[in-house]
């Protein structure tokens, strides 16, 4: 019943503010986009203006292996981008899905059950989030290699991403699960659902906004993570962020290509965000309980 709000006549100041904010937020990205269509000589020029000859050269470089022709400015095509893209997609999606499922199960346990070691579990989880990846790198590499035999595999990377993101997901979802009216769970239990079905059939659908927000973030981390991916992946499982830094050598920051690759690289997470953020909707529990 709560759907038709009275539309406030929106203040014009709201739109002005909104436009300012959009400019602030998107400005750097627009600049990036613009630069991705420039030659380096234009990018680093202190005098170049808004007007420049757009060129697709940078994109040609980034995507050379997919092009039916050989771009003439390019002397050699790095053939790993496509493979890295596939790896990145698989690793990010799988690890996001796993993290969410495992994470919200754990969060649910912590929120809804009283059991021995509950606070300890919850606190430890948070602590684990605090360790910087830089110091984990060497132990993780050693353990993955020598003890798990997972080095160079996608599963190895997925494992570490899931572990790294779990504390975040567990903590953030806790606060969303708390808000699900407990009466719904009670109703489901009366209807004969065991704890798992209560969770998957009733709780999970209702924390969609929280899940979506967590998913956006988890996906983003998995998609952009660099340090561990570099250490744990081999040629075949390497992800895009690792390949992109190849364009940054000490002597030569290939601005155009980096911006182009950066833009291309941002497309999957943007699409992901776009669809995930549609799940952030209001009124999930409208009409559920009276009170």
């Amino acid at each position: 019943m709560s759907q038709g709000h009275i539309e406030n006549r929106t203040n014009p100041a709201f739109y002005v503010l909104l436009i300012c904010l959009v400019v602030m937020s998107a400005g750097p990205i627009v600049l990036m986009l613009a630069n991705s269509f420039k030659l380096n000589v234009d990018i680093t020029s202190p005098t170049a203006s808004l007007f420049f000859m757009p060129t697709l050269q940078n994109y040609e470089t980034a995507l050379c292996e997919f092009l039916p022709y050989d771009p003439e400015h390019l002397r050699r095509c790095d053939p790993t981008f496509g493979r890295a893209l596939v790896n990145s997609l698989i690793i990010s999606l799988v690890s996001t899905a796993l993290t969410l499922v495992l994470g919200c199960m754990a969060a649910y346990a912590i929120v809804r059950f009283r059991f021995m070691g509950r606070d300890a579990a919850s606190f430890t989880t948070l602590i684990m989030r605090m360790v910087p990846p830089a110091v984990l790198l060497v132990p993780v590499f050693g353990i993955w290699n020598e003890q798990f035999g997972l080095d160079g595999t996608r599963s190895g990377i997925i494992l570490v991403y899931v572990a790294m993101n779990l504390p975040f997901v567990i903590w953030i979802l806790q606060s969303f699960i708390v808000q699900v009216p407990i009466q719904l769970e009670e109703a489901a239990r009366i209807d004969g659902a065991g704890p798992f079905r209560v969770f998957f059939l009733v709780v999970l659908p209702l924390i969609k906004p929280g899940l979506a927000a967590a998913a956006i973030f988890t996906f983003r981390v998995a998609w952009n993570e660099f340090l561990l991916a570099n250490a744990l992946s081999d040629r075949n499982s390497r992800t895009v962020p690792v390949t992109i830094v190849n364009s940054i050598t000490e002597y030569n920051i290939d601005w155009g290509v980096i911006m182009a690759t950066g833009m291309l690289l941002a497309i999957p997470p943007i699409l992901f965000t776009f669809f995930a953020s549609r799940q952030i909707i209001t009124g999930m529990t409208a009409g559920a309980v009276k009170g």
């Binding site: 030659l39 000589v41 680093t44 202190p46 002397r75 050693g142 000490e250 002597y251």
Partner: protein
């Protein structure tokens, strides 16, 4: 031509090599298919950004069985890898008649490079000497040279500087002659970049980081002079140049904002590329100017064979092939950095890259000891770099700053055990 019989035993091998993302290696990779063609050995290249490559190698080399047969390493990795006994001593291969090419002509390799990059175990541990031996072969190495704007120099009738006095004078004269233009483009950003720029001047001006007993001497008169030189160069640069890394410095020069540029030869090609540079055709090259001595920086990459390489012999064959005179030239023609004097003298190459002869000449003065290649260097370097950054941006007193660096460096060295024998 090497008889194919040498390669026969390795027909089924696929070599995995680890290369940095670097113009020289890009050039090498364009030539690489020829190797497979000639020898039947497959090669897979794993290319990474050079710092990442180093990180990965560090981890990889501790394994029992490694992934890589042949690695390219950054010069300062030499100390770590050799110390941890992770590289093959190349003597083992050069002694093996079934592997070593009699026409390899090692004398032709640029000594400065070999000493700096390839040899370990001699003087001070990281330099050549009676106790030293060879662990790697330079491949994609660089040295410092002076680039200048021929058009500007011509217009104002300027002489190409031969000595540091001339250099420093010009560095501050150009901004006066050409308002808005900086003198000498230099790195200056906090940390490694500032330190690097400082070291560029330290040796030519007669200074050094340590004396022969590992006592820090950065704070002696020469050290201070080098810092003053750096400061005056940066001060006579364009606004904001204190944040420049090499790419910004190069970009500023390429945009015509500087009259001179003193850094690695690796930048030369970029200045001639109109998609990156507005000054193509107007760049002249000269040797690194002389202070009390001529000493150009050396650095870059070398090739080595890890101890845990699955196919060490075949890897050696590839290494030898890549650094042979014929292929060295071929790679140079593709835009790589030669490792051999003969290559620099090659007429065809000079025709293609007119500055090659100058570079070859500069390399005769390549200094392998412009900074220590020891495990504690990373920390000292970072400290030196941040302290110099404070000198450049906050006007901290130079002597005081360098005294501090020396003191802390001594502490670091002490802890690492360098004074145990005293």
């Amino acid at each position: 031509q090497m008889p194919a019989a040498v390669y026969e035993p390795y027909q089924d091998v696929t070599l995995v090599v680890n290369f940095p993302a670097h113009p020289h290696y890009d050039a090498a990779m364009r030539v690489l298919p020829l190797f497979t063609e000639e020898t039947g050995i497959e090669v897979e290249v794993d290319q990474l950004q050079y710092l990442r490559m180093r990180e990965r190698q560090t981890l990889e080399l501790t394994q029992d069985e490694g992934d890589y047969d042949l690695i390219a390493y950054v010069v300062f990795s030499k100390a770590d890898y050799v110390f941890a006994d992770q590289l093959h001593n190349l003597a083992r291969f050069f002694m093996d008649p079934s592997l070593a090419d009699p026409n390899y002509n090692p004398d032709d390799l640029i000594d400065g490079y070999v000493q700096n990059i390839g040899v370990a175990g001699g003087t001070k541990g990281y330099l050549p000497g009676p106790t030293g031996s060879l662990f790697g072969i330079p491949f994609g190495s660089e040295t410092s040279v002076l680039g200048y704007r021929t058009d500007i120099f011509e217009e104002h009738g300027l002489e190409v500087p031969e000595t540091y006095e001339e250099l420093l004078e010009l560095a501050c004269l150009i901004p006066e002659l050409e308002p808005g233009m900086g003198g000498l483009a230099s790195r200056a950003a906090s940390g490694h970049q500032a330190s690097h720029a400082y070291l560029l001047h330290l040796n030519p001006l007669g200074g050094g980081i340590f004396d022969d007993n590992w006592e820090p001497i950065v704070n002696n008169a020469q050290g201070v002079e080098a810092a003053e030189a750096l400061k005056s160069i940066v001060d006579c640069g364009i606004e904001g140049s204190t944040t420049f890394g090499p790419s910004e410095a190069a970009a500023a020069f390429a945009q015509g904002q500087y009259g001179m540029f003193l850094d690695s030869i690796a930048f030369a090609a970029g200045f001639e590329d109109p998609s990156r540079s507005t000054i193509a055709g107007n760049v002249g090259w000269a040797m690194h100017p002389m202070g009390v001595e001529r000493a150009s920086q050396t650095g870059g990459f070398g090739l080595a064979i890890p101890r845990n390489a699955p196919n060490a012999e075949a890897a050696f064959l590839l290494m030898q092939w890549l650094t042979s005179p014929r292929i060295d030239l071929m790679i140079a023609m593709e835009g790589g950095n030669p490792s051999r004097f003969s290559t620099y003298q090659d007429a065809a190459l000079n025709e293609r890259f007119p500055y090659s002869a100058t570079f070859g000449e500069a390399l005769r003065f390549a200094d392998p000891d412009w900074r220590p290649i020891i495990p504690t260097w990373g920390e000292i370097n970072a400290d030196l770099g941040t302290t110099l950054s404070q000198v450049l941006t906050e006007g901290v007193d130079i002597q005081e700053a360098l005294d501090g660096v020396a003191e802390r460096a001594r502490g670091i060295m002490d802890e690492a055990g360098y004074y145990a024998w005293q």
